[in-house]
Symmetry: C2
Subunit: 318 residues, 2 copies
C-alpha cells in the first residue's frame, strides 16, 4: 500500500476554452502551461508553443498520442455532452478515460462501460461522487454484494448554505457567503435546485445498483423555498434541515428522491456540516455500511483523478 508506483508520464495535450486544442507528443511543459493559464495574453503564446493545434477531439487525441484522457468539462444535466463524446473518442482512440463529470455516467454508462471493456481500456470516474473518496472502488472490492438502497448528504453547497441560514443569514446572503468561500459556483442553480445531488444519486444507482435511471425519474426538490426562520427553528428544535439523497429498490425499480428533510441533530446526517458528506449503504452482507468524509479540501476531487490515473497504470492489483 505504500508502494512506489514508478509511473512516468508526460502531458502531451491540453484542451480548454482558453487554450483551445493543443498537443505535443514530446510533452508540454506543465510549468509553462500553468504560467500561461494565469496570463491574460496567453492565447497566441500558447498556440505558438505547441506544434499541433487541431480543432477537434479525435485529431487532438491522435496528435497528442494520448494514452489517458482526463475529462473535466462541467456538468451538462440534459445529455451529458460534450463529455460523452470526449470519452467515447478517447476509448476508440485507444486511451483510458478518466472523468470528474457525472453526466456521462447518467447518460451513457452502459455504452461507455461496454466500449471500454471491448477495447480493454478503463473508464473511471471516482471523482464524481464524494470528491475523491473511493466509493465506486470500494464496491469493486465487495464482489457479489447486493446493494438494497442508500441515503446520504452529497452536495456541499446546500449544506454550507443551510448552516449559514441557521446562524441567521437569508438565503441570498448565505449563497453569497458560500460563493465567497469558493464552495458555490457563480451559477449555483445546479446545487441549490438539487440537480447536483440528483445526478450523484443517479450515478450511484446506475453503477452500484446496476439499474439505469433517468434524472427526471428522481423526485427532486431543492432548498430555494426554505426560509431563514424555518431553517433556524428546525436547528433550534434539534431537527435541522439537510438536503437528503435517498434510493431504495422496489421490485425491479429503484425509487429515488432528493429533498430537504428534517433529520435528528444527533444522527449521523444531522452532524454533517460544511463541505463534509455522508453516505449510508444497505447491503445484504453489511446491513449498514456508512462512510463519512469530513471537510475535504478542493484538492480532494483532483486526488480522485490522480487515484484513477494510478489505477490505469497498475498492471496488477497484487
Amino acid at each position: 500500500m505504500h508502494e512506489n508506483h514508478a509511473i512516468s508520464y508526460r502531458i502531451t495535450g491540453v484542451a480548454s476554452r482558453r487554450f483551445g486544442w493543443i498537443a505535443d507528443p514530446a510533452g508540454l511543459d506543465s510549468a509553462v502551461l500553468l504560467e500561461l493559464s494565469s496570463d491574460r495574453a496567453f492565447g497566441s503564446r500558447a498556440a505558438a508553443s505547441a506544434p499541433h493545434q487541431p480543432d477537434n477531439i479525435r485529431d487532438w487525441l491522435a496528435a497528442a498520442q494520448a494514452n489517458v484522457l482526463f475529462e473535466a468539462t462541467s456538468l451538462n444535466v440534459r445529455d451529458g455532452q460534450p463529455a460523452v463524446d470526449h470519452i467515447r473518442a478517447a476509448l476508440e482512440h485507444g486511451a483510458h478515460a478518466i472523468t470528474a463529470n457525472k453526466g456521462p455516467i447518467v447518460h451513457a454508462y452502459r455504452e461507455l462501460r461496454s466500449l471500454a471493456k471491448a477495447l480493454g481500456k478503463k473508464f473511471l470516474f471516482e471523482s464524481t461522487v464524494m470528491d475523491g473518496v473511493p466509493i465506486f472502488s470500494l464496491f469493486e472490492q465487495m464482489p457479489t454484494i447486493y446493494l438494497q438502497g442508500f441515503h446520504g448528504i452529497l452536495n456541499s453547497t446546500t449544506n454550507v448554505i443551510l448552516s449559514e441560514m441557521e446562524s441567521g443569514l437569508s438565503f441570498d446572503e448565505a449563497l453569497k457567503k458560500a460563493q465567497a468561500l469558493g464552495v458555490a459556483e457563480t451559477d449555483a442553480t445546479h446545487d441549490i435546485d438539487g440537480w447536483d445531488a440528483a445526478v450523484k444519486t443517479a450515478a450511484l444507482i446506475t453503477v452500484l445498483m446496476d439499474v439505469p435511471i433517468k434524472i427526471e425519474d428522481i423526485q427532486r426538490e431543492g432548498i430555494r423555498d426554505l426560509t431563514m426562520p424555518a431553517v433556524r427553528n428546525a436547528r433550534r428544535d434539534g431537527w435541522p434541515f439537510k438536503l437528503v439523497c435517498l434510493a431504495k429498490r422496489e421490485g425491479n425499480r429503484v425509487i429515488a428522491t432528493v429533498a430537504p428533510e428534517k433529520v435528528l441533530a444527533t444522527s449521523p446526517m444531522g452532524k454533517i456540516t460544511g463541505t463534509s458528506s455522508y453516505i449510508y449503504f444497505e447491503t445484504d452482507i453489511f446491513p449498514g455500511l456508512a462512510i463519512t468524509e469530513e471537510n475535504p479540501g478542493l484538492y480532494a476531487t483532483a486526488y480522485g483523478m490522480l487515484a484513477d490515473f494510478v489505477r490505469t497504470a497498475r498492471v496488477s492489483d497484487l
Copy 2:
C-alpha cells in the same frame, strides 16, 4: 461491479482438529464434509472418504494441489503460530494465501508480503479487521495517501458487555450473556483484556502506516476492572465507556493505545452499540474519513474471505 465472476473451484483439502489433514485433488464433497462435521463419529468415516491423509501442511498442500489456502486457525497473540507457518508453506507451494487470523500480520507481515510478491502470489487478510469490510482494500484504492493516525471501536465482545452492564448486569452476567448470544467465545480473555483490539490496532498500523509495531508496544487496558455502577453512571451522564483503539504518528514512530474511555454519547463512537464497529482515519488528502459497520452477522467474516478469494481469481481489475 455486478459482473459474473465465472470462477470454478473445488475443495481439494480440509484440515481441522476434527478431520486431521485430508486431501483429494479430484475434489471433496462439501455436503458430505458438512454432514461429517456435525457427526460425532466422523473421524474414521472422513478418513475413509479421502484418498490422501498426510500429516503436515506441506504434504497436504501438495496432495491437495492447492491453488488457494484459506487459513482460519485461531489467534496466537504470542508468535502468530501456526498460522505464519501455514501461510509461508502455502506461498512457497505456489498457492495464494488468505487468512482471517491477525497473528501473521502482526508477527510476519513484511516477510510474508515480500515472499508473496517474489512468488507472484497474493497474501490477503481482509477478514482480520472489521469483519469483511474492505478496509485494507480501501487503502489499496487510495494510492499515495498518507495515514496520520486513526481511532475507533474494533472489538464487538467488549462493546456488547459494556452495553449490558449499562442496563444493570454485573461484568460476569454481561459476559455470560454475550457468550449465550454467540458473540463472545468460551475463553473471552482475548477480548476482555483488550488483546483482540490491540492486535487489530497493530495490524492496521503495520499494513496501513507501514510501521511495524509489537503488541507489547501498544499500551493496553481491558474492561475487566470497570464496575457496573461506573459503567451505568457514565452512560447516564452522557459519556458512556467504550474500548477505544487509537494510533498516531510521532516522528518515525506510532504511538498506540487500547483502553476504556468515556466518549460523548452523541459522538460517532458513542453511538456504536452491539456488534457494530467504527473507524476514523486521519489522512493528508481526506482530513477525516470514517467507516461505520452496523450490526454485521457472523457471515460477514466469511464474506471477507470470499471477497479475498475473488480477488485472487481476478486477472484484471478493469
